[in-house]
């Protein structure tokens, strides 16, 4: 098992390096000069600008720039935000927990919806329940999150007035009241993101269960006289959920995309809205760092899924 974990880690490392190469290439290929502002500033003489270029190594060969960029990334030296005037790693650490909580809770909600609906649909394929659930799933992943978010705000915040539509990180309440207010302001973003995820997850669960339910051992379980309920929960679902783990991990890039949009709609101070703000204000160090953090998260979740898969499925060899 340890061997397997090490091997997976060794596979994840090149992908991380690959992503860093992609990121760096994009940045290096991009036209424009970080010292462009200085060039237009008459009070900065050209010699100072040139000296700055040399000091920051902008005239070095590209591989040398890549190596120095990579080593500073790994040392946690991510630069300085032009706009917020604090270090980028601090800024991201402030914002990351909110994003992870929203993503985590919405994934939980997605599972709570998708698992029972998907299993019930597959237990009676082409029944009325299945048809309605499948159609709703199609509707669910055809509704872009920005549109559902807008509709939720229109209906629940403006028409009914139940929930606030701006997420506030500086709630003045304390104790139980704080939790209540936190719940009220988090419920809409989590539902928007969770239902979007649930739609595609439900289809995965359904097809995974359908693949297992026609296997011989399930027929055996039925002919032993077990109740249908026991067959489904004890025999089918446990095996069907193994591939779902991988599919959920493969969805992570899409989840982050949805999280960026949701954070932007509900003005949640997470790293997604940080990214958008940074782009709108040309804050390059923050943009690079956030993109890199998102890449690391994706790889991390893929790694977790691989490990979980190896643990769940004894047929996987650990070599």
């Amino acid at each position: 098992m340890l061997n397997y974990i090490l091997r997976r880690l060794l596979i994840a490392l090149p992908s991380l390096l690959g992503i860093s190469v992609v990121l760096f290439t994009v940045l290096a290929l991009a036209p424009g000069d970080p010292f462009e502002d200085l060039a237009n500033n008459p009070s900065v003489p050209p010699e100072v600008r040139m000296a700055l270029r040399v000091q920051f190594g902008l005239d070095d060969p590209i591989w040398q720039r890549y190596l120095s960029w990579l080593s500073s990334m790994f040392q946690g030296n991510w630069g300085f935000s032009f706009v917020s005037r604090i270090n980028v790693d601090q800024l991201i650490l402030q914002r990351l927990p909110v994003t992870l909580v929203v993503i985590g809770l919405s994934q939980l909600l997605a599972m709570l919806v998708a698992l029972p609906v998907g299993i019930l649909s597959a237990a009676k394929p082409y029944s009325w329940f299945d048809r309605i659930a499948s159609t709703l799933a199609f509707v669910g992943f055809s509704l872009p999150t920005f549109f559902t978010g807008v509709i939720f705000i229109l209906f629940f915040s403006i028409y009914l007035g139940w929930f606030p539509f701006v997420y506030r990180s500086d709630l003045s309440a304390t104790g139980l009241d704080w939790w209540w207010q936190q719940f009220r302001q988090s419920i809409m973003p989590i539902t928007v993101l969770g239902l979007f995820q649930a739609a595609s997850m439900m289809r995965y669960v359904r097809s995974a269960v359908l693949d297992v339910i026609r296997l011989d051992y399930v027929t055996t379980a039925r002919s032993k006289g077990l109740a249908e309920r026991t067959v489904i929960t004890k025999h089918v679902v446990r095996n069907a959920l193994i591939p779902v783990v991988t599919l959920v991990a493969l969805q992570m890039p899409a989840v982050f995309g949805g999280a960026i949009v949701t954070e932007q709609i509900f003005r949640i101070p997470g790293i997604g809205s940080l990214l958008i703000d940074a782009i709108l204000r040309n804050d390059t160090p923050v943009i690079m760092a956030v993109t890199f953090v998102f890449s690391c998260l994706v790889i991390f979740f893929n790694l977790m899924a691989d490990l979980l898969y190896g643990w769940l499925d004894p047929r996987i060899s650990y070599r």
């Binding site: 090149p14 992908s15 690959g18 992503i19 992609v22 990121l23 994009v26 940045l27 991009a30 036209p31 424009g32 159609t135 199609f138 509707v139 992943f141 055809s142 509704l143 872009p144 920005f146 549109f147 807008v150 509709i151 705000i153 229109l154 403006i158 493969l250 890039p253 899409a254 982050f256 995309g257 960026i260 949009v261 932007q264 990214l275 958008i276 782009i279 709108l280 040309n282 943009i287 690079m288 956030v290 993109t291 998102f294 890449s295 998260l297 994706v298 790889i299 893929n302």
Partner: protein
Amino acid sequence: MQEITQVQLAPELDKPRVSTTPWAEAWRRFQRHRLAYWSLWLLSALVLVVLLGPLFYKVGINDIDFKARLASPTAAHIFGTDDLGRDLLARMLYGGRISLAVGLAAMLMAITVGVLVGSVAGMARGWVDSLLMWLTDLFLSLPQLPLLLLLIFLFREPLKAAFGLEAGVFILIVVVIGGFRWMPVARLVRAQFFSLREKEFVEAARALGASTTRQVLRHILPNSLGPVIVAATIDVAAAIIAESTLSFLGLGFPPDIPTWGRILYDSRDYMDMALHWALFPGMAIFLTVLTINFIGDGLRDALDPRRVL
């Protein structure tokens, strides 16, 4: 002699057997998926309205009517107006063309790259295959939306300078969206190639001395088209969503080009006063994407010959 001829006379059939082409058979199967069938009609109607609508509905997208600011749908403005009194129907007809064009172009790009990578990997095998598949996996694990935003942030200005405002942004968005959607197609095509290249009919072609190019173009590729067509359909929907998302984040087309996502973005600050402004573009995106997804599902059933329908 006489008797034998009589025995050979077959009883007359009720209906003469008609031979069907594979495409006719696929169409018959497609029609049995009712939702997909009706989606096809709805989508065709939508596309026709978007393409031909401006010929009949002659209101400029930038005609300002201050007397009817934020007006609800009326006879004069069928879909109402925005905060400057611009007609929403005219703007949506214009934006629809862009959304559809972006979807189709990005799909073509993704399919071309995907088929190319997949077939090279499937035919070459060995280290070329390993390298290409590693690249595919790498692209699959890239966080797409952040990178999309990053690329647009970095390359928008120079492309705008090189190709003009609309064309520059269009090329950028299509290339970037297309460049992030080819991976599933590449995997599909590679898997198809792996199984098809060992089939007897390809072996026969090889034995007759067909070159690799001919084997691929005449024998393997046409037989692996089914899943590719399905993926292409769904890619159009994904590209439309991606474009609207970018526009909605304020990072897609510039403000004076009213794509559906952009109209929705502009409407955010007036939601409590002008409900229609957000609802119409949102519904347009939703209906287009939903019908395309249903059609993709129908095609999946129709183009899979192993499925009994």
